[in-house]
């Protein structure tokens, strides 16, 4: 499974980028339920990022039910229903976003303005600490 090198300067924390990549891989089927993910050390070395960052991404993914961390064995894609539900949920959300954006475009609002509006709304979500 190929993971892309995260962009450290994008402003999005590296662990979030990793989590997104894993979720995306699951959605597209590159990672199947029950399949094993690369272990922390080799992955950190390959991507040249902090091993703690990989560990954090894996922990958060486990917390969300996307993967399972099995003692001594490694990290595996969760084969419970939540993964399917997660993919479905995101698909539904994507449809809503597409709808909303189309409606704003219909009103003559440009894509740049749309992006800024969304960011401003989300700003209330990114509180200090970043952890949930």
């Amino acid at each position: 499974m190929i993971l892309l090198k995260p962009n450290p300067s994008s402003g999005v924390p590296i662990y979030l980028q990793l989590m997104e990549q894993v979720k995306h891989a699951i959605e597209t089927g590159a990672l199947k339920p029950g399949e094993q993910l690369p272990s922390i050390r080799p992955l950190a070395e390959e991507l040249v990022i902090n091993p703690n960052t990989v560990a954090k991404a894996y922990r958060e993914l486990e917390h969300e039910g996307v993967i399972e961390l099995r003692q001594g064995a490694g990290a595996f894609v969760s084969d419970k229903a939540p993964t399917q539900q997660e993919a479905e949920r995101l698909k539904a959300a994507q449809a809503l976003v597409a709808q909303g954006i189309q409606r704003l475009r219909d009103r003559g609002i440009t894509d740049e303005e749309i992006r800024r509006l969304i960011e401003a709304e989300l700003a209330g979500v990114y509180r200090s600490g970043g952890s949930r």
């Binding site: 922390i40 050390r41 950190a44 040249v48 091993p51 200090s128």
Partner: protein, 298 residues
């Protein structure tokens, strides 16, 4: 038995003749972290490292490594558990690679012969070559090997990738990351390369004119800093932001830009109160945090 903080300084001052290199530096480096130490040239990065290793004596204040002050016999113990690589990576130019390794090995009972072989191969170092003949890149690799094979709990690196091309720099970072993942050690490195700090560090501190201006976990800092841009119909008002953690308020025509590190609602609420025509919040990169924190007085 590791303390929570491998390195700790409190109110550290260092004066060299007329120059005050450190002016009350406070630093805490958590055990097991990869800690990036940032600052402009002459801000005090190398001086800090020298004080921590006992090469220079503090004028005032405290510095502790592994809970000990780095002088006398305690200093010897600190240095036995630490691996240092200097900025220039100078070694003994009258020795060969093999001699340099044998020399260094003799001081560290926990030397890892297996890692020595591994890195000799990986870095493609010829044991018979004289250090005088090595390029800067090869010398850096040798210095890294000498550091990584010591079985040290703490690696202190002064500008580890300076003078290296991007490919070699990535090789060095990879070796560091691989080392930290496999061994239980802390890495404390000073750097100008913000991108590489963002890539591998989990904690940072920014030093300016001998004092710490920013420090903490990198993810936390990135979550806290925000750039807020307000655009007004007419000229932007001259405002004074009362919410804490506001760094800079810049007015240019109809645009007002505020850099805030508190991350909370107070600043956003206060600014919304000015009823701008548009209100934009964006994340701030480490480069922006750095430039903002070490700017000259205006």
């Amino acid at each position: 038995m590791s303390d929570r903080h491998v390195i700790e300084t409190a109110g550290l001052w260092k004066r060299y003749d007329e120059v005050e290199a450190l002016r009350g530096l406070d630093l805490q480096v958590p055990s097991g972290s990869i800690f990036g130490f940032l600052g402009k040239n002459g801000a005090g990065k190398t001086t800090t490292i020298k004080v921590l290793l006992g090469m220079a004596r503090p004028t005032r204040g405290e510095a502790r490594v592994f809970g000990k002050a780095p002088s006398g016999n305690d200093g010897v113990d600190v240095r036995r558990r630490t691996a240092f690589v200097s900025d220039e990576k100078d070694l003994y130019d009258y020795m060969s690679v093999a001699e340099m390794i044998a020399f260094t090995r003799s001081f560290y009972p926990r030397w890892r012969a297996d890692l020595e072989q591994q890195y000799l191969r990986k870095f493609d170092l010829q044991p018979g070559r004289n250090i005088k003949e090595l390029s800067r890149g090869m010398r850096t690799k040798l210095a890294m090997l000498l550091a990584l094979c010591r079985g040290a709990e703490l690696l202190m690196l002064d500008e580890p990738t300076s003078g290296l091309d991007p490919a070699m720099a990535e090789e060095m970072l990879q070796a560091l990351v691989g080392h930290v993942a496999a061994q239980e050690s802390t890495v404390f490195f000073s750097s100008h390369q913000l991108a590489e700090v963002e890539q591998i560090a989990d904690h940072i501190a920014i030093i300016d004119r001998g004092q710490t201006v920013v420090s903490g976990a990198l993810d936390d800092l990135r979550g806290q800093y925000r750039r807020i841009q307000l655009v007004f119909e007419g000229n932007a008002p001259e405002i004074k932001v009362h919410a804490p953690g506001t760094h800079r308020v810049r007015r240019q025509g109809r645009v007002l830009t505020v850099l805030s590190s508190s991350g909370g609602d107070a600043v956003l609420e206060e600014l919304r109160g000015y009823r701008p025509a548009s209100f934009e919040v964006s994340p701030v990169s480490l480069k922006d945090i750095f430039l903002e924190s070490v700017k000259t007085e205006d």
